[in-house]
């Protein structure tokens, strides 16, 4: 990937960069700051020696660790550098953390999403830390003419006990940087960890609670103008003509013009979304002035009709027709019902499900529906761009710089090494900021305005120009024999415009006769990753269905799942089962113990359970719910998680608590509807998100203790919350809930 970037000027610059207050995202712990020499303005000035892409050290022995992945609240700016610090052997309290620029060569994939940060960087960061430590030891060995085997390190100092010699990493750094990078350096035994696996505070915590500029929206640049977009009011529309004369007369307004994102035939990658291709732009001095001027635009809109897009793919480009219909939620639902009846694409088949269903003593069939969801990141989409004919600087909140850079090179006709992307802290992401169309927009606006520009979406822009979670449905069928044994399982799922079915997930592998099928309905409503894509629907639907099934079979819902998992472990059906049945069972057993599943607590509340595997980690929740005047309130939640080694336990707990709250909120209230292509919920007065009074009193979290390499946590705890809430709601109301969101209207109590 981008091999031509290996030796660009940025690399040389970093080697001896002066830290003179220019760094947007440089974070000193108090101690580190005191130790630094200061210039006349009181700004720390440091001469850094870069040992590798992740580690640089000053002569004063200040150790800076570069965080490769953008931070959107999952705390990677703390937890990823912790891994380096562990192997490097430095005092964490004295470490300085810096967010790296986009540089896939030096800093790896740099992708925040898919709960991949830990999984992707665990080994590379351990190796980076261990190799840097080894180079510092080799430098000491050479200086003192002693064998490197006789050296030890502690808290950033190399020791030679025999001679009594010692030197700080800072003293050795310059020499170490010239040593050829050793290969295969031994990593620490996980049992000896002392940075990783102990709770470390968020390195940006102090800046966050004092309002320091950290986010994209906070970014300032000399001569910077503000831009806002007027996008069509509905999916399936575009502008026919517009009159900007009144807008241009408004104070502070510099220009009004249009931009076109992609030219005809542009080969779109998977993350190049084309929601609205032609946009009207207002550019001015301040945000409020631009907001006001935008209201003065007189625009005539028209249906855009069917649009033919060219998609790039592994097997060459292909044409995709995006239908021009102005969609309505009611017709979307009707259409899903029609499609559900049609033959679908087979995704997986084990045994002979058709015969098993034919011979069944009882068939249970249930259909589950879920609406489009908007991400509602608290910081609306925005990005800074300064594009000239020679180069481009882009700064802002972004999950995947490496995915948008190839698009920018094509659109701006600039080589990758002339495009500099810096990632600020993100005010939420949830998948939304993996789609960098707003960088393309900002870049095109800057180019046309011939000025540095910050593009800002209003909340309404953000809500109505989204990359949403698709609208999903799935019908589950189970065949029982006369002894109420489960003999066949069938799931047929679809969506607008994508389905959610994971054919190789549980209970695939646990049922002899199994069939998974899918279908999709094309749509002009743009969709994309939303915290645990697809899983966030499956875990609701499938886990409700399993609950209902257990009840029909007269079994305890946890026992029933464990029985299936036992079979999947001992005698798995079919191939390509994605999950580890033992770890899956492990979280269920742990949550059963921690919640006192059938104990006294059980009597006080309506209780539901769900478990799910996604993004390489396992999560199970027990939800305790009450109905207050017809409104469900989740009083407490017990969660059991298996994500292997837990890097930063308190931060992990924080994230799981957040995922549980998010899951409760989205399952009870989340939903986006359309009327003639217009998004009906355009701000927080109409799109209901969970608030503090709806958050549980207590969320009790337990981890399965093991030494398995760490996997992600941002997504896995989220999906099963939906299922556990639905199952608890059934206990409270006596009614199964098949349509999300569950709690927009009052629910009558009737205990089971």
């Amino acid at each position: 990937m981008e091999k031509h970037k290996t030796d660009n000027s940025r690399r040389t610059f970093l080697k001896t960069s002066l830290l003179a207050g220019g760094g947007l995202m440089i974070h000193f712990s108090g101690l580190a700051k005191l130790a630094l020499p200061h210039n006349d303005d009181g700004v720390p000035v440091v001469q850094w020696t870069e040992i590798n892409g992740y580690v640089k050290i000053s002569p004063e022995n200040i150790v800076t660790i570069i965080c490769p992945n953008p931070e959107f609240g999952q705390n990677v700016m703390t937890s990823l550098p912790m891994i380096v610090a562990e192997e490097l052997g430095v005092d964490w309290k004295k470490v300085v953390v810096e967010m790296g620029p986009h540089d896939n060569v030096k800093l790896g994939p740099q992708f925040t999403g898919g709960s991949n940060s830990m999984r992707m960087y665990w080994k590379p960061l351990r190796e980076a830390g261990a190799t840097a430590r080894n180079m510092l030891m080799l430098a000491a060995a050479e200086t003192w003419s002693v064998p490197v085997e006789e050296l030890t390190t502690k808290a950033g100092v190399v020791y030679h006990d025999k001679s009594g010699k010692n030197a700080t990493y800072g003293e050795l750094a310059a020499k170490a940087s010239g040593i050829p990078v050793p290969k295969g350096v031994k990593l620490k035994d996980v049992k000896d960890f002392n940075v990783v696996r102990s709770s470390r505070k968020n390195v940006e915590g102090a800046k966050l609670v004092s309002g320091k500029p950290l986010f994209g929206l906070d970014y300032q640049h000399e001569g910077m103008l503000i831009a806002m977009i007027q996008h069509p009011p509905a999916f399936g529309m575009t502008h026919k003509s517009f009159d900007a004369s009144a807008a241009l007369k408004m104070p502070g307004i510099k220009d009004v013009f249009t931009i076109k994102l992609y030219e005809e035939g542009f080969e779109q990658g998977g993350f190049d979304v084309r929601t609205f291709n032609d946009l009207i732009v207002v550019v001015g001095k301040t945000t409020w002035e631009v907001m006001n001027a935008r209201k003065k635009l007189i625009v005539e809109w028209m249906p855009v009709g069917d649009v033919k897009n060219t998609m790039a793919g592994r097997d060459g480009k292909r044409e995709v027709v995006i239908p021009g219909e102005l969609e309505n939620t009611t017709t979307q639902l009707q259409k899903m019902l029609e499609y559900a009846k049609k033959p679908a694409q087979q995704l997986r088949k084990d045994g002979d499900p058709e015969t098993a269903f034919k011979n069944a003593a009882e068939i249970i069939e249930r259909t589950y529906n879920a609406p489009f969801l908007a991400h509602n990141c608290m910081e609306p989409m925005n990005f800074f761009a300064h594009v000239t004919d020679e180069k481009a600087l882009l700064v802002g909140p972004l999950q995947a710089p490496g995915w948008i850079e190839p698009t920018l090179t094509k659109i701006l006709k600039l080589p990758a090494d002339k495009i500099e992307i810096q990632m600020t802290r993100m005010g939420g992401g949830f998948g939304r900021r993996a789609y960098g169309h707003y960088l393309v927009e900002a870049a095109l606006i800057s180019k046309k305005a011939k000025a540095p520009v910050k593009l800002i979406y209003s909340r309404e822009d953000d809500s109505t120009y989204g990359i949403y979670r698709p609208m999903y449905t799935a019908t589950y069928r189970a065949a029982l024999d006369s002894n109420k044994n489960l003999i066949a399982f069938h799931v047929k799922g679809g969506g607008i415009p994508e389905h959610a079915i994971h054919a190789n997930r549980f209970p695939a592998g646990a049922v002899d006769n199994y069939l998974a099928e899918s279908w999709e309905i094309p749509s002009n409503i743009t969709v994309g990753a939303f915290r645990a894509p697809r899983s966030n629907f499956n875990a609701a639907a499938e886990q409700c269905f399993l609950d209902e099934l257990a009840e029909a079979m007269g079994k305890d819902p946890i026992d029933f799942r464990l029985e299936l998992l036992k079979k999947a472990k001992e005698n798995p059906v079919g191939k390509n089962n994605e999950y580890d049945a033992e770890r899956y069972a492990g979280v269920l057993e742990l949550v059963r113990d921690k919640s006192g599943w059938n104990g006294a607590e059980h009597k006080k509340y309506s209780r539901g359970v769900a478990a799910y595997f996604c993004h390489n980690s396992y999560a199970a929740h027990v939800v305790d719910l009450t109905l207050k005047d017809g409104h469900p309130y989740v009083e407490q939640v017990f969660s059991a998680i298996d994500c292997g080694i837990v890097i930063n336990p308190d931060a992990a707990i924080n994230m799981i608590q957040g995922a549980v709250v998010d899951g409760i909120g989205n399952s009870l209230y989340g939903g986006l509807t359309h009327k003639n292509g217009v998004v009906a919920e355009n701000n927080f007065h109409s799109y209901r998100v969970i608030r503090i009074q709806e958050a549980p009193r207590k969320i009790d979290i337990s981890f399965v203790q093991n030494d398995i390499d760490p996997t992600g946590l941002g997504e896995p705890p989220f999906p099963p919350v939906f299922g556990a809430v639905a199952n608890a709601l059934y206990k409270a109301s006596g009614k199964r809930h098949y349509q999300q969101p569950f709690a927009l209207s009052k629910i009558e109590a009737s205990s089971i």
């Binding site: 004092s210 608290m378 992401g429 957040g658």
Partner: protein, 153 residues
């Protein structure tokens, strides 16, 4: 020209008197700790103190702030010494952190009025502040912790 007193400092601002305080803070004065979240007083990310009262700066015109004392997150304390900021750090409340300045500014008014708030008091006072990351449990806990610390002073 409007003169605004923000964090005990006077600023002369060239802006339409109808301009929301939020945008004057952010775009004219460069105090960006106060956040834009919704623009319609629904999310609380922009809460500041106007003569000690919590107001949503996204719907507070600067003409209303004239002659009054505005306090933003940047002026809440020096060196994060306010009990709420200390509690927030002690419990590591933030995830993305975007809403937290607004949360703290709302909580500061609650704590001034109720020395030892109950969960119900906290829920009532903080219902207007959205946290999309779902840090509400820690926000509650941090407010209790700050209340304790204030009372033992």
């Amino acid at each position: 020209m409007i003169t605004l007193n923000i964090n005990k400092k006077n600023y002369k601002v060239e802006a339409d008197p109808n301009t929301p305080l939020l945008w004057v803070l952010r775009d004219h004065i460069g105090l960006v700790g106060t956040k834009y979240g919704c623009g319609v007083a629904q999310c609380g990310a922009c809460v500041v103190h106007l003569d000690g009262e919590a107001v949503r700066s996204c719907v507070t015109k600067i003409s209303r702030a004239q002659g009054k004392n505005v306090v933003t997150i940047e002026g809440l304390s020096e060196n994060n010494s306010h009990p709420l900021q200390k509690a927030w750090l002690e419990l590591d409340v933030s995830q993305c952190g975007y809403c937290q300045a607004g949360q703290i500014m709302s909580a500061a008014v609650l704590l001034r009025e109720k020395k030892d708030p109950t969960d119900q008091d906290i829920n009532d006072a903080m219902a207007g502040n959205i946290c999309r990351c779902g840090t509400y449990l820690r926000i509650r806990e941090a407010i209790h912790l700050a209340a304790q610390e204030s009372s033992t002073k």
